[in-house]
């Protein structure tokens, strides 16, 4: 807070009323979300990578049948759905910060964010659709 830097004078009585700046706590909640989702993602993502890259032959055993077997279990469906949403929002907010920090023009900032939000909605939306409509007998 900048309370110590505030001028020692007080506004004159009867001076025209200035509306308080519109404040939003969005950035606070975004900051908190990064930390909370980060803790959950640590377990979900490292668990996912341990299973997919190291256990039972690692990446070489992954194929359609393997995915079908996993998603027959609601536990792994929920795992993947939670991981998808948290990773999409965590990564999306991280890139939003990066764009805010490094873009110099309002135009490039706006269009990079349009691109970012489109890709987040596309990936999280497509992933959710696939998880809910997966058909092991599609072939």
């Amino acid at each position: 807070m900048t309370t110590t830097d505030a001028p020692l004078s007080v506004d004159k009585p009867r001076s025209p009323h200035r509306p308080a700046a519109r404040r939003s706590n969005f950035e606070l909640y975004a900051w908190l979300f990064m930390r909370l989702s980060g803790v959950v993602l640590l377990f979900l993502v490292l668990g996912h990578m341990l299973i997919m890259l190291f256990l039972d032959g690692g990446v070489h055993r992954i194929n359609f049948a393997f995915v079908a077997g996993r998603w027959a279990n609601p536990f792994w469906q929920m795992w993947d759905l939670t991981m998808l949403w948290l990773a999409g929002l965590h990564g999306g907010n991280g890139l939003r910060t990066v764009i805010n920090d490094y873009t110099r023009k309002d135009g490039s900032r706006f269009w990079l964010k349009v691109l970012l939000y489109t890709s987040v909605v596309l990936t999280v939306g497509l992933g959710t659709f696939v998880l809910f409509t997966f058909d092991p007998n599609i072939g």
Partner: protein, 144 residues
Amino acid sequence: MASTTASAAEAPQREGNPRAKGSLYRGDLGMWSWVAHRITGVLTFFFLFVHVLDTALVRVSPEAYDTVIETYKSPVMILFELGLLAAVLFHAFNGIRVMLVDFWSNGPKYQKPMLWTVLVIWLVLIVPAAISMLMRAVTEFGGQ
């Protein structure tokens, strides 16, 4: 996010000697951990995008999915997966450090020893992981 972390870490040092020595975080090891956190995060995000698209092929046909997932098994792609794991591991454990700096009263004081701890944990995990993945890449490649 990470940018607020940098200012949070330098705050206590500023209290003691205002503007005497400037920031102890900027330009120092702590800043590079912040840079590395950004780079590993952005790289992981780009992989997430690709990975959701390739996994979505299970909705197209088993053949389409199997064909694309087969590329993940080539030795070159296994090197890429090792790089991804290295990035994710650093991001995960440095993220814990960021949270300790933010929420633990002694966090800013111990940010540097905590960074060394992160790097030690990272090494302890990535070395056996690299050995395991590279050995499998070589044996599977030789078997084909």
